[in-house]
């Protein structure tokens, strides 16, 4: 006998992600899920944003790593609300981990929440956490072929941050080829180049955040 099911196999994560999303929207918190390879500069771009925006918005950060609280300690030095999740082996954050974190993290008092995912360009792409947008962080020394090699995350992201642009003279980095690849996968992807080291491009990154904040708030 046949039983028709028609059930999305990943629905368990989707359902919890929607619950997270509802909680964030009820409290007017705008949430960004930062995804990138280990060492791309996810923590650095968050630091750069906090330094420039913390007088305007109440900011918090949820950090995801397999081990250590090093990233959370870096962020905490900037005086913002921080929580470290140690996945102890899981290669990505999922909605359930965020739901559990929200029980002990005062997200209700925030305007802007950054979730820094585990360093990984593959798995985080498919796991909705309840965020407003995914931001993919890549860095110049990684080379220009990431959008072609890891299409799902570039398809699902709203913004690609190209970090470490100050190193471009030392790497044979074809920025135009990479942008063409990225736009081929996702024509509506915003692209910003910056250097957390020199500060170049950081204003563009924070301007993008401000625009998204205004947009979300005016959707109410």
């Amino acid at each position: 006998m046949e039983i028709r099911v028609l059930s999305d196999i990943l629905k368990a994560n989707e359902a919890i992600a929607e619950q997270n999303r509802k909680k964030f929207r009820e409290r007017n918190v705008v949430v960004f899920n930062l995804i990138g390879s280990p060492g791309a500069g996810k923590t650095s771009v968050i630091e750069a944003a906090i330094e420039r925006l913390k007088e305007e918005y109440r900011i918090g950060v949820i950090e995801g790593d397999i081990a250590t609280s090093r990233d959370a300690e870096r962020i905490a030095k900037l005086g913002v609300e921080t929580l470290q999740i140690n996945t102890r082996g899981a290669c990505h954050l999922d909605a359930n981990m965020i739901a559990a974190a929200l029980c002990e993290f005062p997200y209700q008092a925030l305007d802007l929440l950054f979730i820094e995912n585990v360093g990984n360009l593959v798995c985080p792409a498919g796991y909705d956490l309840g965020e407003d947008a995914k931001v993919v962080v890549i860095s110049v020394p990684e080379g220009p072929d990431k959008p072609a090699k890891y299409p799902l995350i570039f398809r699902n992201a709203s913004l690609m941050l190209i970090n470490k642009t100050d190193l471009a003279p030392h790497c044979s980095f074809d920025a135009e080829a990479m942008k063409q690849d990225a736009l081929g996968v996702n024509p509506s992807l915003d692209i910003i180049g910056l250097s957390c080291e020199t500060g170049e491009g950081a204003e563009e990154w924070t301007a993008w955040l401000r625009r998204r904040m205004r947009q979300r708030r005016s959707d109410r």
Binding site: M1, I3, V5, S7, I9, L183, P187
Partner: protein
């Protein structure tokens, strides 16, 4: 990607679907896998084989229905097979393309024996 946890989710869904029904054996599961689901059928089959041992779905066969990645142009409405994840209309070159199929990861149906 994460075929083991996906296999585990699959077993949970099957368990719920057969609840309250007089089922003696689950013979097969029909699964729709999209090209852009990033799940590899052979890996899922392997993971399922491992994780279903000793459960009520042990030895169930997985039948895969593979869905290609198909886009639809938002400008000229042409539907086309998306190659190499390039989302550009081959007809009018517009970059505005929505995905019609290819993202699925769905348990469509369960074949089982009553008794």
């Amino acid at each position: 990607m994460h075929e083991l946890s996906i296999a585990s989710n699959l077993i949970d869904i099957v368990k719920k679907a057969v609840e309250g029904k007089e089922i003696s054996r689950v013979t097969s599961l029909r699964i729709v896998i999209g090209e852009m689901s990033m799940v590899v059928p052979e890996s899922l089959e392997f993971a399922f084989g491992v994780i279903s041992k000793g459960t009520f779905v042990e030895n169930a066969r997985l039948d895969f229905v593979r869905k290609p990645l198909v886009g639809k142009c938002l400008e000229c409405e042409k539907e086309f097979a998306v190659r190499d994840f390039l989302f550009r209309c081959p007809e009018c070159q517009s970059p505005g393309v929505e995905i019609v199929s290819g993202r699925e990861l769905l348990l469509e149906s369960i074949e089982c024996e009553q008794g």
